[in-house]
């Protein structure tokens, strides 16, 4: 049995399979199917300072091997999150990665401060792939300067014991530029990738399906883009820890991300098709590592880069 422990910067996790923000709420619902404390960690839905309604429905559309969502970051706000969700997670012994989102840099800072000293908080994932009010709706993650400003501010404000990961959008010309900017700003690692911006038109109503017109594309359809992003960032920043996600549904899918350079993976949309996906992926990944003679998960991280000349 391979040693599945992994590290995300200073944080050590018992295994490399986590949930994906927005696909597991705060763990309570999945706990009906399996003990969420069995996972490397639970990544929570991006939380903001104040309650947020989210967008009008329809909020989803199924696409070939994928789906579009335009939730619009619905959430109860940090107060309710700390009181109910974080408390529940702590009670159930689940390692927790809290995803935070904001419209302004100072909103992110306030969230980071509110999380300081919380024993149940193992790590902070900074969702900078959401619309940035300051640059007329452009997402932070599409702009190296805006990204580094947020990450730097969060790193300074956050509990030093809590690693800060920047979650990047793939919808950029060169993801390694954004990655480097976040690393330089103090990010302890990167979560790759958030959804791709997409859209579907209902050929009966002949209007956009989603209330929000465009939405985030996720699921197996985007996996090749996600693996490419992990590969490119690993090539550019070989020592920066990566939490990889995007269409993972099996142990072999997860192994692709590990070989590309991810030290851990998140399982998101696959949960909708199989509520037990996270623990199934963990078991399958364990078996696939054994079958290939890896003594530990760590040995497999970035293994596909061996003797591949650094690419132009």
């Amino acid at each position: 049995m391979a040693d599945l422990t992994t590290t995300l910067g200073p944080l050590t996790l018992p295994n490399p399979v986590l949930t994906a923000s927005g696909c597991a709420a705060a763990g309570r619902e999945l706990h009906q199917f399996f003990d969420v404390a069995r996972l490397g960690a639970v990544v929570t839905k991006s939380i903001m300072t104040r309650p947020r309604s989210g967008r009008a429905t329809p909020r989803m559309a199924e696409t070939p091997s994928g789906m579009l969502n335009s939730i619009g970051l619905q959430g109860p706000g940090i107060d309710s999150f700390l009181e109910h969700d974080l408390a529940w997670l702590a009670e159930h012994g689940a390692r927790t990665v809290v995803s935070i989102a904001g419209g302004h840099t100072d909103e992110y800072v306030e969230l980071a401060r509110r999380l300081r000293g919380h024993p149940a908080v193992s790590m902070i994932e900074v969702n900078i792939s959401c619309p940035n009010v300051e640059s007329r709706g452009q997402v932070f993650a599409c702009d190296a300067i805006a990204s580094s400003r947020v990450i730097g501010a969060v790193r300074r404000a956050a509990d030093p014991g809590q690693p800060v990961f920047a979650k990047l959008s793939p919808d950029v010309t060169d993801i390694t530029l954004i990655a480097r900017a976040c690393a330089d700003a103090g990010a302890d690692g990167l979560s790759l990738i958030n959804t791709l911006l997409g859209m579907a038109i209902d050929t009966d109503t002949m209007r956009p399906v989603l209330g929000g017109v465009t939405g985030g594309l996720s699921g197996p359809a985007i996996r090749p883009v996600a693996v490419r992003c992990v590969w490119q960032v690993r090539q550019a920043l070989p020592h920066l820890p990566i939490l990889g996600m995007g269409g993972i549904r099996s142990g072999l899918d997860a192994l692709q991300f590990i070989l590309a350079g991810a030290s851990a993976v998140s399982v998101g949309t696959a949960v909708f098709g199989d509520p037990l996906a996270p623990v199934r992926v963990l078991a399958e990944l364990d078996a696939e590592l054994d079958a290939r003679g890896f003594g530990s998960l760590a040995d497999a991280v970035g293994f596909a880069h061996r003797d591949v000349a650094a690419l132009v």
Binding site: P51, R52, S53, E62, F272, G273
Partner: protein, 286 residues
């Protein structure tokens, strides 16, 4: 709400009933937790499919394990690619099912006359409900409606349970011509209904709510909203609902529903973002 389970369920039988397909599948775990109003989420397309999301179906009933393993029943109307795939399954095939899901119909504490309004396959979950109500001493009257006779469901079963069944079809091909809700006021008055239960298209549920309110009685309605997960983690199935505190919120229909008090649902605002909704102000910022 009992814990939902994921089961690989063998199909025991598939019967064509009018325009619909009635499935009986062996699913002891789900059957054990069943209550009228629960639904299940069925994986579609088989191995290597491009359809990655489950489809939801209200439970028509369940027979708990006894001499044989427990079974559940649901009714499938072909709509798009996923339901079409399900209707092509045969006895002996297996289905990957998660359930029981959702919050079932609340039952009255004391016997109280009830009118049950089923639109199309919407009658399915009302049949086990009626059985429970009758067993608890409530008088039950059924109203069944559909666009046309082939899209009616459960008339015979309803008759066997509740004696009098009023049938309406929009095109008059069966029963009275017209909308099922047109027969509701008379039915309420006839049995002195204290509660109305309904399941069917959203437009029908809204009308049931208005009419019930006009008669100062509650209506418990089972809604349908597009669902990606069905288990409460994705936030795609929300409806604008007035809370006990009077404040309206986007509420998950897959866990807090699909059964809602019709009065609480802001029918006119479904598909919009009402500015007074909790947290709507935060959206303005972006």
């Amino acid at each position: 709400m009992s814990n939902p389970v994921k089961e690989t369920a063998e199909i025991f039988s598939v019967q064509k009933v009018g325009a619909y397909y009635q499935f009986t599948v062996v699913a002891p775990g789900i059957a054990a937790g069943f209550a009228p109003g629960h639904f299940v989420a069925v994986a579609v397309g088989g191995e290597n499919t491009s359809m990655i999301l489950r489809r939801a179906f209200a439970l028509l009933g369940a027979t708990p394990s006894g001499q044989f393993a427990g079974t559940i029943q649901f009714v499938v109307a072909e709509h798009g690619a996923g339901t079409r795939w399900i209707t092509q399954r045969r006895a002996g095939d297996t289905l990957d099912i998660v359930g029981p899901l959702g919050t079932p119909f609340p039952l009255p504490s004391a016997p109280s006359p009830a009118v049950l309004v089923g639109g199309g396959y919407g009658t399915a979950p009302l049949l086990p409900l009626a059985a429970g109500l009758i067993e608890a001493g409530s008088a039950v009257e059924f109203l069944l409606g559909a666009a046309t006779s082939s899209r009616l469901y459960g008339e015979l079963a309803a008759k066997r349970l509740a004696g009098s069944v009023t049938v309406t079809t929009d095109d008059g091909s069966a029963g009275e011509k017209g909308l099922v809700t047109e027969a509701l006021p008379a039915a309420i008055e006839r049995i002195g209904a204290e509660v109305v239960y309904a399941c069917g298209p959203m437009g029908m549920l809204r009308a049931v709510g208005d009419i019930s309110r006009a008669h100062a009685i509650r209506a418990q309605v089972a809604v349908e909203e597009s669902m990606a997960c069905g288990i409460g983690v994705c936030m795609t199935c929300v409806l604008p609902v007035r809370g006990d505190d009077g404040r309206s919120r986007f509420v998950r229909s897959c866990v807090d529903g699909p059964v809602f008090d019709a009065d609480r649902v802001r029918w006119a605002d479904v598909g919009t973002l009402p500015p007074d909704l909790l947290g709507a102000d935060a959206m303005g910022l972006h």
